[in-house]
């Protein structure tokens, strides 16, 4: 139930070479953090793991299946078992929170159930339980555009919790949250993965969060893997090399406050149209 990448390389349509020669093998139930400078290829790597980007080279095996070798219906079933928390919450602003959370199981529900849920939410209790773990239960019937950026990110997280995937992926899930909330949220993801025994891969901008919460840390630099080590063995020298281009380690704080400008710069523009 884990996954493996062998010699995976990917070039975007605009000619940018995002990944090269990635070899990565992760066992079921492992919890891994991806760290690296902005633009290093963390998002692309996660999207390959989510079976939403097809790499140009190499072999991908996910949850004991080869996504790009199977029929469309089988690929759809495979994707329904993978949950990806996006960096910018992909939620329509005018949608209600309950609908946004329930959308997590569209891949598992038959079509009639999805359609019925648009008229009357079929499982409000389930959505509420997922939101309650993120301290948002009372916003169940609110519209998403009434929420702050951090709250929307938590709604997106609740959607993936509700999906109950076998492979839990998260792309900078805490970029719009303050340090205390980031800490709580990352703990929650880890707890969820441990409790259900599923694999967790999260990319994080803040190095200290990654080192504190994840047993295994993978450093990505310029589309390739720089190191792949247990958290305790990640040395300062390696980190300095990893972030050589950024001139300093990005930290979430907890001990020291983050520079607000940096967090703001990382914040994706929220669509409010």
């Amino acid at each position: 139930m884990g996954f493996s990448l062998e010699g995976v390389g990917l070039t975007h349509a605009n000619g940018f070479r995002a990944l090269r020669g990635i070899d990565l093998r992760i066992a079921p139930g492992e919890r891994v953090a991806l760290i690296g400078a902005s633009g290093a290829g963390k998002t692309t790597l996660l999207r390959v793991l989510a079976a939403s980007l097809r790499p140009g080279e190499g072999r991908v095996t996910l949850l004991d299946g080869e996504p790009w070798a199977c029929a469309p219906a089988a690929l759809r079933r495979l994707r329904a078992r993978i949950g990806l928390v996006h960096q910018s919450p992909p939620i329509p602003p005018r949608q209600r929170v309950v609908t946004a959370v329930l959308a997590g199981r569209l891949g598992q529900w038959p079509l009639w159930k999805s359609l019925a849920s648009l008229v009357l939410p079929v499982d409000p209790n389930g959505a509420r339980a997922a939101l309650a773990r993120l301290d948002l239960a009372e916003r169940l019937y609110e519209r998403c555009d009434r929420l702050s950026g951090g709250q929307q990110q938590r709604v997106a997280l609740a959607r993936v919790l509700y999906q109950q995937p076998d492979l839990l992926l998260a792309d900078e899930p805490v970029s719009a949250m303050d340090p205390a909330l980031s800490e709580l949220t990352i703990s929650l993801l880890n707890e969820e993965a441990t409790r259900r025994g599923v694999t967790l891969v999260a990319s994080l901008h803040a190095v200290d969060l990654a080192l504190r919460h994840f047993p295994r840390v993978v450093g990505v630099k310029e589309g390739a893997i720089l190191f792949d080590l247990p958290a305790a063995q990640v040395s300062d020298a390696l980190l300095r090399e990893l972030y050589a281009a950024e001139g300093g380690l990005p930290l979430a704080g907890g001990l020291r406050a983050p520079e607000p400008a940096e967090t703001a710069g990382e914040l994706p523009p929220l669509r409010c149209a």
Binding site: A50, R79, H86, L115
Partner: protein
């Protein structure tokens, strides 16, 4: 920037003047006769026959019924067109490949380019005289207009929400309804309401070719030289248009 009048601008002005003069000359408009004494008297006489409007209860009931019919034609046709337009807008926005896009755009352009009145004459043949033909005719033309507007709205919509859902295995219809539809719904509704405002005016006219509603009544009244009745019908048309404008503005505000 060049100073003064450019050669192109001058040429355009000359061309426009020539086109206008040519048009009037070609049409041989009796503009002079219009303002000659006898004709002017005739016109005053003609206008005078419209007053006062016919307000007998029997005729008012007839006008009320026709007005209801007109309202029904405009509403039903707009709803039909909104549904059909949405169905055609998906391929027209390029969601089902290039071949689908070209085909859908062709159909939408064809529906849109043929005026409502022409559709109405065709539909009177296909469905017989009466409001149903008018409904179909308006629905066909409006489908073309709304389909194009809907498709443009779709093209300007961020694809990320629907892609995220499809990425977690949602079927494409569910991904559209949960990820894209909430983004375009308000705009689609605004477009549909705007078309409804146009359609109430068109629905009043379609009766001229036998498609029911106020137009039929106006046509008969004028054919029988009952100008007082005609002026009541025209007043009813004006009132309907104003009422629908108000309702549409209210709905738009309520849904925003």
């Amino acid at each position: 920037m060049r100073a003064g009048v450019s050669f192109g601008g001058l040429l355009a002005v000359v061309l426009v003047i020539a086109a206008v003069a040519g048009s009037f000359a070609y049409l041989d408009m009796p503009l002079g006769a219009l303002f000659a004494g006898a004709a002017a008297g005739e016109i005053v006489d003609f206008v005078g026959r419209f007053f006062p409007p016919e307000l007998g209860p029997a005729f008012l009931a007839k006008v009320g019924w026709a007005a209801l019919e007109t309202l029904a034609i405009s509403l039903v046709s707009t709803v039909l067109a909104a549904v059909a337009g949405a169905v055609l807008a998906l391929p027209a926005a390029g969601r089902h490949g290039v071949a689908g896009q070209v085909a859908a755009r062709f159909v939408l352009n064809l529906l849109r380019s043929v005026p409502e009145l022409v559709w109405a004459t065709l539909m009177v043949l296909a469905a017989g005289l009466g409001p149903f033909a008018g409904t179909l005719a308006l629905a066909l033309h409006t489908t073309g207009v709304l389909g194009r507007l809907f498709a443009e709205a779709l093209e300007n919509t961020p694809p990320a929400p629907a892609e995220a859902l499809a990425g977690s295995g949602a079927p494409s219809l569910a991904a559209f309804l949960y990820g894209t539809f909430p983004l375009v719904a308000a705009q689609w509704l605004a477009y549909a309401l705007y078309r409804w405002e146009m359609n109430i005016r068109m629905a009043a006219i379609l009766g001229f070719v036998g498609a029911g509603g106020l137009g039929a009544l106006l046509y008969f009244s004028l054919s029988l030289f009952h100008e007082a009745e005609a002026s009541t019908v025209i007043l009813a048309m004006l009132a309907m248009a104003v009422a629908v404008d108000g309702a549409s503005a209210w709905l738009r505000r309520a849904s925003a």
